[in-house]
């Protein structure tokens, strides 16, 4: 009689412990799934932010300087660059957009500024990128390729309205 009572007692304890273990595992799984979903959402938000920011910045810069002859594709000390020109007090100032040392950069220079091999370092860092390339497809169409920090390759086309 005693043995039976003792056996029941052991099974009770084991059952309760097993149930508790299942509870703990389920709780852990739930937290783990939540963390995974949150992590993916944050990663996607960062990817979207990086791609959209770089994309929108270049496009808006061109829109701001959309005047005949003010958009030009060239290079800045060996780095492919977009040159946007604007005339202030009869002087032509240039804005260079290019990638250097892991960043998309912008350099605003006066006509007196002399471009040399150190010039790319002087540009203001905008956003981390791995690559920036551009080409003039036609007189009315420019093509840009931006490789973001997370290896996303974005292709952007812009047609300046005042290109003709």
């Amino acid at each position: 009689m005693n043995t039976k009572s003792e056996n029941n007692h052991v099974v009770d304890v084991i059952f309760v412990l097993a149930l508790f273990a299942v509870f703990a595992v389920c709780a852990l799984m739930l937290v783990s799934i939540g963390a995974g979903v949150y992590q993916k959402t944050v990663d996607d938000m960062n990817t979207n932010y990086n791609s959209r920011t770089a994309y929108s910045y270049v496009a808006e810069k061109i829109r701001q300087n959309d005047e005949a002859g003010s958009v030009e594709v060239a290079d800045l000390a060996g780095n492919p660059a977009l040159i946007l020109s604007e005339t202030v007090d009869e002087k032509v100032y240039s804005t260079y957009l290019y990638a250097y040392d892991g960043y998309l950069r912008e350099l605003f220079v006066s006509p007196d500024f002399k471009i040399d091999s150190n010039s790319p370092e002087a540009g203001q860092k905008l956003i981390p990128v791995k690559g920036f390339d551009l080409s003039k497809v036609s007189d009315t169409l420019y093509s840009f390729s931006i490789i973001t920090e997370d290896d996303q390759d974005i292709e952007l086309f812009v047609s300046p309205k005042a290109s003709r």
């Binding site: 009770d12 149930l19 509870f23 979207n48 036609s138 009315t140 952007l156 086309f157 047609s159």
Partner: protein, 154 residues
């Protein structure tokens, strides 16, 4: 006395698990919704960029190509899209919006040139990105483009 204590703990545990199951169900539903919303946002972002690209290219090729067929050929050359029998441009994308073959595509973009509207003097067209899935062909994003070309109407 000991058995009674165990039974009480069991009851407590069962009630806890019941609450946990209810809370867990709600959480899993929220996680699933968040995951789906995240996927939808990523798809919309990609679709917006591609539609804007095609509309910009349409602006860019319009002046040099007054005929629809020529415009579509010029756009196809720049984008790598194919022109179908209806003179629409079609290009397929994988889940990260890289151009790919039709058989492995997750999305596709269709650009239709509506030509010149004689009443308004506007050239127009639209680009839309859809899911490339027979069970779900919803439009993710659609962008209409129109441009006035001076002196085109006689």
């Amino acid at each position: 006395m000991k058995t009674s204590k165990t039974g009480l703990f069991l009851m407590e545990l069962i009630i806890s698990i019941l609450f946990f199951a209810l809370a867990g169900t709600v959480c899993i539903q929220l996680f699933a919704k968040a995951h789906m919303l995240d996927g939808k946002t990523a798809a919309e972002n990609g679709a917006i960029v591609k539609c804007e690209d095609f509309c910009e290219i349409y602006y860019g090729v319009l002046d040099d190509n007054p005929e629809v067929k020529d415009r579509m050929a010029a756009m196809a050359k720049v984008t790598g899209a194919t022109v179908n029998d209806a003179n629409d441009l079609i290009i397929y994308y994988d889940e990260k919006f890289n151009a790919c073959d039709a058989d492995v595509a997750t999305y596709y973009l269709l650009f239709r040139d509506l030509g010149l509207d004689e009443a308004t003097g506007l050239y127009s067209g639209y680009a839309k990105v859809l899911y490339d899935d027979p069970a779900n062909q919803d439009t993710i994003y659609e962008l209409t483009v129109s441009k006035h070309v001076p002196n085109v109407l006689q």
